[in-house]
Symmetry: C2
Subunit: 471 residues, 2 copies
């Protein structure tokens, strides 16, 4: 077939399907494949690239783009010309998407977008400057323009922004036969669909019929007799995360999106929802780890800058903890063992606190923690903190007592450990709960508050008890 593929045929197995897999074992793009693409790019062999890269699935093309260098990316898009599948842009980092879109004239983008599903087109359009957006929209056919504009008018991260405006809808008085004939003959239908919506003349949503139901019913039956209640229409203004929860809760494959008057304006499909779920889980992990919206393709400057705020907050809290230590400098000077041991008390508290906090943040995110079980979970965490505090207090008490040949130091660190583990449990559960109550994201700020509490309490308890006991 393509000369790109032929080159490779001697080193690959005989199975042609095998030869088409662009991925290596570890899931990254195979370097031999990458080398071939790079060679073709260098030689400007547009035909070879079209044959080889043009056949890739949009997500494979996206991975290929991410694996290439910036100049190679725009060169590939340029050489592919019309063969470049724009939906691949929905599969790459925002930085790469902008880089490619900005390298192309608006005319070309408009033509490409008009061939995409509306949700993909909106995904690409929404990140652009408003001037470019308007310019591209102006170049689109009227109905396309209205559709995309409608999605773009809904706020970011809402169901309306994510929805696809292509769907199949029929009136309730049609028969199954009429519906099937319509589906067979109409040329304007969306590329794929899994249900038929039922609407009145004003586009008000009446119900839906799954395709398997249509297929299982005799032609003479009326649609209204087999339609089911669309019990979970998604308001276009609904936050996408909330919409995703409804999908998960009721195992939906697709759902109608309606405007404030109950009119059908689009559909949301499970594949978009899977993306939302992934993004939200990712966001939680990143926020707990103190990383913002940075992307793997970001530069040193941007990455460094995006991490500064979190580190600054941590520096402030670390200085706060240091001032606590400073209160007891006289005691430390007398007993240096305290300086050696104090990070253990603070560190163990920090770890116990982040265990409790992780459980709390996740339970809040999955809506498993509410007023019905909050009291029980709080009691449990406090008891776990006391039990584990006792276990590790005794352990470190014995170790420290033997190490510094001082039973007193052993007692002091044991008591401080119990106190700090209890503080860790309380901070780990109440801080995320409070943040959630006041409408903040518990994932974003819990870590810093919890470790501040465990550092301050840890140092204060240990050094405080020591200064009283050891005079």
């Amino acid at each position: 077939m393509s000369d790109l593929l032929e080159k490779d045929s001697n080193e690959k197995s005989a199975d042609p399907r095998e030869a088409e897999d662009i991925y290596a074992e570890d899931g990254s793009v195979r370097s031999s494949y990458l080398d071939r693409v790079r060679a073709a790019l260098a030689e400007g062999r547009s035909d070879a690239l079209t044959r080889d890269v043009g056949r890739l699935h949009e997500s494979e093309l996206g991975d290929l783009l991410e694996a290439l260098d910036p100049e190679e990316r725009t060169r590939l898009v340029d050489l592919l010309g019309d063969a470049f599948d724009f939906s691949a842009l929905t599969e790459v980092d925002e930085g790469i998407r902008l880089e490619i879109v900005e390298s192309l004239p608006n005319d070309k983008i408009a033509i490409a977008l008009s061939e995409l599903d509306s949700d993909d087109a909106v995904y690409i359009l929404e990140d652009l400057e408003e001037d470019d957006q308007n310019d591209i929209l102006a170049k689109l056919p009227f109905t396309e323009r209205i559709r995309l504009r409608r999605s773009l008018d809904y706020p970011e991260d809402t169901a309306g922004r994510r929805m696809q405006t292509e769907f199949v809808a029929v009136p309730p008085f049609w028969t199954v036969g009429q519906t099937i004939d319509y589906l067979r003959d109409d040329e304007e239908l969306p590329e794929s669909f899994s249900q038929v919506f039922v609407i009145d003349p004003t586009f008000k949503l009446l119900g839906a019929v799954d395709l398997d139901r249509v297929l299982r019913t005799h032609r003479a039956t009326k649609i209204e007799d087999i339609m089911r209640d669309t019990s979970h229409p998604i308001p276009a203004q609904m936050d996408q995360e909330e919409a995703a929860q409804i999908f998960e809760q009721y195992d939906l494959l697709s759902a109608a999106v309606t405007d404030e008057n109950g009119r059908l304006v689009g559909i949301l499909t499970i594949d978009d929802v899977v993306d939302v779920i992934n993004e939200e889980a990712d966001e939680d992990i990143r926020r707990l780890g103190g990383v913002g919206d940075e992307e793997l393709s970001d530069t040193v400057r941007r990455t460094s800058r995006s991490r500064v705020p979190w580190l600054t907050i941590n520096l402030a809290t670390a200085i706060l903890a240091a001032t606590v230590i400073n209160l007891f400098d006289a005691t430390i000077q007398k007993v240096v063992a305290l300086a050696v041991l104090m990070p253990i008390v603070a560190g163990m508290g920090g770890n116990a606190g982040s265990q409790t906090m992780t459980v709390t943040v996740r339970a809040l995110a999955t809506r498993d923690l509410g007023i019905n079980n909050a009291a029980r979970i709080i009691r449990r965490e406090v008891l776990v903190g006391l039990v584990n505090g006792a276990v590790f207090g005794v352990l470190i008490g014995v170790v420290a007592g033997l190490w510094f040949e001082s039973p007193q130091i052993g007692y002091i660190i044991a008591i401080a450990m119990v106190v700090n583990m209890l503080a860790a449990a309380l901070a780990g559960i109440f801080i995320p709960l409070l943040l959630d109550r006041v409408g903040a994201d518990p994932a974003v700020a819990s870590t810093v508050f919890v470790t501040t509490v465990t550092d301050v309490v840890g140092f204060f308890a240990f050094l405080g008890i020591a200064s009283i006991w050891l005079g």
Copy 2:
């Protein structure tokens, strides 16, 4: 309608749909609803419960079960009798599922399971003791038994274990008309389906047709002419996480599951995959936070015990860091300011390290980090570490120098900060990469290794430089 609902009618809005929502604003089960259920449970009003609770969606029933106390749960299942929807058991914590299943006689479980989809039945069966499993299977009709046994024979967490064994398959030589007639007349079809598979007489998978394609094609057309290549059949032995990645990559709604001979044995649907995606994201968050497989319904004893291993490892590494401090006890005794400031150096390193580690762990999990970009990411993280080290080194240097009125201490902490931020970057990227390379889950152990490095390097650099400089 039900007397349970009527009681509520005066306090609720006139919209009957509103009255049916069992959830409060925050997503937990409404306490007024819970109270009504509890009252009906206490009075043993089985009819009222059946009318009110029997109409709930399986996930709503699951949430209700989780909100009740253990005794109330088994009592509810008991009072509901045949009206209890067993699929709700797939929506609750494992502990609660076992508690309910173990309260029921095996005969009853067998009858209930035979009415579920095979994937739900397997989900409930797989956690049971082998004796109970065999006993229940023996009570099932032959074909059911064979189906469930086949799924159970595949290892846990594989596609074969998760698959549904009910599907629609037709031979390639059938026409669209024949297929539609078969779908209309056959009583044994699965409850819902979104594609028709095409198989040869030995059950070998030939292709698939989406239902919208069937509906859009004229009756005389042969299935083989419209079937598409099932380009992504899932081997039954494949790990569910890998299967989920294929779903995400190719935006699949359902996929054929094949045995080692390429025979169709079941299908995997997107709703199962959504569960897998959620579980995996959850696992990553929990592992980074040092929490194991604990559940919200676990007891104090079980929770406490499950957290001990992680805390023990942390205690060991904290003691290691303490021995590093102990090396410099003479210097600390001379300059107590060092004891005050040293947690700042270690803490900032820990935070910077966990930023880098979070990015690395996530990029590995989403397969965005591979050999093609590893060198670039490593270079970036090292540079970010140096830049942020310099920024915060200068900042804390000035603060510490002024605080303790000693420019020397300012210089020392600034240098130590740069060194530790660099160590943090290196640890944050290389530790997860190495763990991944040796086949371990980077999420599970990275945190402890990274903070060990940043504690040890932080204390050693700061106190070491100080002991040389300050003599």
